[in-house]
Symmetry: C2
Subunit: 340 residues, 2 copies
C-alpha cells in the first residue's frame, strides 16, 4: 500500500487561511472494502467555495471536519479496485479531497470520465467540470438570457466568469461587460474571451465603479452574473435595467472577511427596477450535466469557447495555490497537480 | 377661490426629516384650464416610500422638487371642474400631494371612486388602495404562495404587513409568523390579524432574532414578505427553506439612515438555499387593480380580512404623523385628515 500525503484542515481559519490552519500528513492508504476503489489523484480543483467549507457555519454542505483533508473535486485514475464498475486504469472525477490517494465508493461521488475526449484530464475540473457547468446552467437557467440583453459579469477573468461571458455572447447578448482587477486581466477579457468591454475595479469607489458601468451600459444591464459581492455588487445594483436578473454565484470578496461584513447596501434598487437576485448552485444541475457537457463540448470543438487553466504542482503548495484565488494572481481555472 | 394650505418640501432631509425641512404655505387655488378639476382633499395617505421621494436620488419616481408640496395619494371630492368625466361632487382618489386642494387632470392620476361601497372613504387609501394592492399582488404574484408554505412577514403590524399575513392564511399557508416591535403589536398580530406566531424584534441581535425565527420555523420559511431590511432581513435570510422566495416590498429600517448603510450581510444564504429576492412595486399592477379590489372586497365582506387605520388630523400635523411610521407609534394604516 502506497504512502498517501494529505492536506488536513486542523484549525478553522479566522479570515484568510494561514499555514497554521493546516497540516500535511503522510499515512498509509487504507484496506479497501467491497464496492470501494483507490484513486490516484492527478489533479485537484481549487475553488473559492472551499473557503466556506472550512468554516463551522450552516451551508449547502457540512463543514470540513477538523483533522480531515480539505474537500475538493479531483481527477485521477483507479489503481486498486473492489468495485466492478471502476476497474484499475479507469479515469474518474469526483468530490474527494486534497490528497494523493482517495477512496472512492461505487454509487457515490465518483464518475468515470473519458480523458481521450479532451486534450487534458484537467479539463474535467474546468470547462467540462463543475466550473463549466456552473457557467452554463447558471447563465442559461438562472439568468434566463434573451437575445439583445446587456450582460455584466463580475469576477470576469475567473474560471467561471470567463466562460459566462462567452456563453452570453453565444446566447445572443447585445453587449457583454466584464469587471476584473488590473489592466492585464481586463485586456484578456476583451482580447482572449471576446467581452465587448472590460472595467478595472481596482482603486474605484462604489460611485466611480457605478459610473464606469453606466458609461458602458447607459440603459442598464439586464443580467448580472455575480461572483464577487460587496462594493462590486453594490455598483452593479446601481445599474440595473427594468426587470433585471442577478444570478448570485459567489461572494468571493466576503469569504475571508473575519470581521463585520459590509453587505449589499443597494437592495433598494431591486424595488426601483423590479429586479431579482437568485442564488445558484451547480449541484442542482448534476442530473443535467450530460446536456451541459454536450453543449459546451460542441462550442469548444467549433472554436466558440476558449478557456485557461492555471496549474500549480505539488501538494506542499496547496495553500499558496488556493490563496491565488483571493489575491487574483491566477490566470485561469486554479488547479493543483498531485501526481509526480 | 378658496385658500389652500400646502405642506412644502423646502430642504432635502439628512436622515430623519425635521421641521426645518418643510414649510406650510397658504396660497390661492389656481384658475382651472380645460380638462382640469379642483379636488378638496379629505385625506392623504402617509407611506414609508415618501421618505425616498424626498431624496435627490434615482428611484422609480422623480424626487419631489424643492418648494413643491410633498407627494401623496389622497381621496377627496371635486369642487370645481372643467372636465366632463369629473363633475362637481364626484369622489376621486389619486396621486396628489399633502395639500388641502389639488388640481386633477382628466386622463392622469385621478380616478373616480364609489365611497358608498365602503364604510369610510379612507378605505381607498388603505385596504382597497395602494396598500391593499401591494399586499395582494406582492404576496400572490411575487412571493408565489403554495398551500402549506411557512410565511414570514416583517413589519407585520404595519398597514401592508397586517394584510399580507391574512392573505397568506387565506391562500393556504401552514403557518404565518409576523415580526413586529413591542408586545402590544405582537399581541395584535395574533389576536386581531390571525397570525400563528409573533416575534418581537426589539432588543434582539441578528443571532437572537435568527434563533427566535428558527424556533417558530424549524424547517425554514418558504416566503419572506420583507418590509424592513437591515438586521431583520439578515435574520430572515438565516432561516430560508430550500427554494424560498423573498418579496422585497420595502426597507424602512434604512430610509432615515444618513450615514453608511449596513446592508444585507447574509446573501450567501441565497446560494445555500437557491433562494431569490425580488423587488416589488404596486405600480406594475395598476392595470389589474380591479381584480385585486374585487378579491379583497369579497374577503372583507365575508369577514376574512380585518384592517386598521390610524388617522391624525390637520395639515399642521403632517410631519409628526409621517414620523409615526418610523417610530412605529401608529396602529394601522397612517392617514392624515385634511378636511375640517
Amino acid at each position: 500500500m502506497p504512502n498517501n500525503r494529505r492536506f488536513l484542515l486542523t484549525r478553522r481559519p479566522n479570515g484568510a487561511p494561514v499555514a497554521d490552519d493546516f497540516q500535511l500528513e503522510t499515512t498509509l492508504t487504507p484496506e479497501l472494502a467491497n464496492g470501494q476503489f483507490l484513486i490516484r489523484n492527478h489533479y485537484a480543483s481549487l475553488d473559492p467555495a472551499m473557503r466556506g467549507w472550512m468554516d463551522d457555519a450552516p451551508s449547502y454542505m457540512p463543514p470540513i471536519l477538523l483533522g480531515s483533508p480539505v474537500r475538493a473535486s479531483t481527477v485521477g485514475v483507479v489503481v486498486e479496485s473492489k468495485a466492478n464498475a471502476f476497474p484499475v486504469g479507469q479515469w474518474v472525477s469526483g468530490l474527494n479531497a486534497i490528497e494523493e490517494y482517495s477512496v472512492g465508493i461505487a454509487g457515490e461521488f465518483s464518475q468515470p470520465i473519458d480523458v481521450n475526449l479532451v486534450p487534458s484530464s484537467t479539463n474535467f475540473l474546468s470547462v467540462l467540470g463543475a466550473v463549466g457547468m456552473t457557467a452554463y446552467f447558471g447563465h442559461v437557467e438562472v439568468c434566463k438570457p434573451a437575445p439583445g440583453d446587456v450582460v455584466l459579469v463580475t469576477g470576469a477573468a475567473g474560471a467561471v466568469g470567463s466562460l459566462v461571458g462567452q456563453i452570453a455572447k453565444i446566447k445572443g447578448a447585445a453587449k457583454v461587460i466584464g469587471i476584473a482587477g488590473g489592466p492585464e486581466k481586463c485586456a484578456r477579457l476583451v482580447d482572449r474571451y471576446g467581452f465587448d468591454a472590460a472595467i478595472d475595479y481596482r482603486g474605484k469607489s462604489v460611485d466611480q465603479l457605478s459610473f464606469s458601468i453606466a458609461q458602458e451600459a447607459p440603459n442598464g444591464v439586464n443580467i448580472i452574473f455575480e461572483n464577487v459581492g460587496g462594493d462590486i455588487l453594490d455598483a452593479g445594483l446601481n445599474n440595473l435595467a427594468m426587470g433585471a436578473r442577478v444570478g448570485l454565484c459567489g461572494l468571493i470578496s466576503e469569504y475571508n472577511n473575519a470581521g463585520e461584513k459590509t453587505g449589499a447596501r443597494n437592495l433598494w434598487q431591486l424595488i426601483v427596477k423590479r429586479a431579482s437576485i437568485t442564488g445558484l448552485l451547480v449541484a442542482d444541475y448534476v442530473p443535467r450535466f450530460g446536456e451541459g457537457i454536450s453543449e459546451m463540448a460542441g462550442w469548444l470543438q467549433s472554436g466558440k469557447l476558449v478557456f485557461d487553466e492555471h496549474i500549480d504542482h505539488g501538494i506542499e503548495n496547496a495553500l499558496p495555490a488556493f490563496l491565488r484565488l483571493f489575491s487574483g494572481s491566477n490566470d485561469g481555472k486554479m488547479i493543483l497537480g498531485l501526481a509526480p
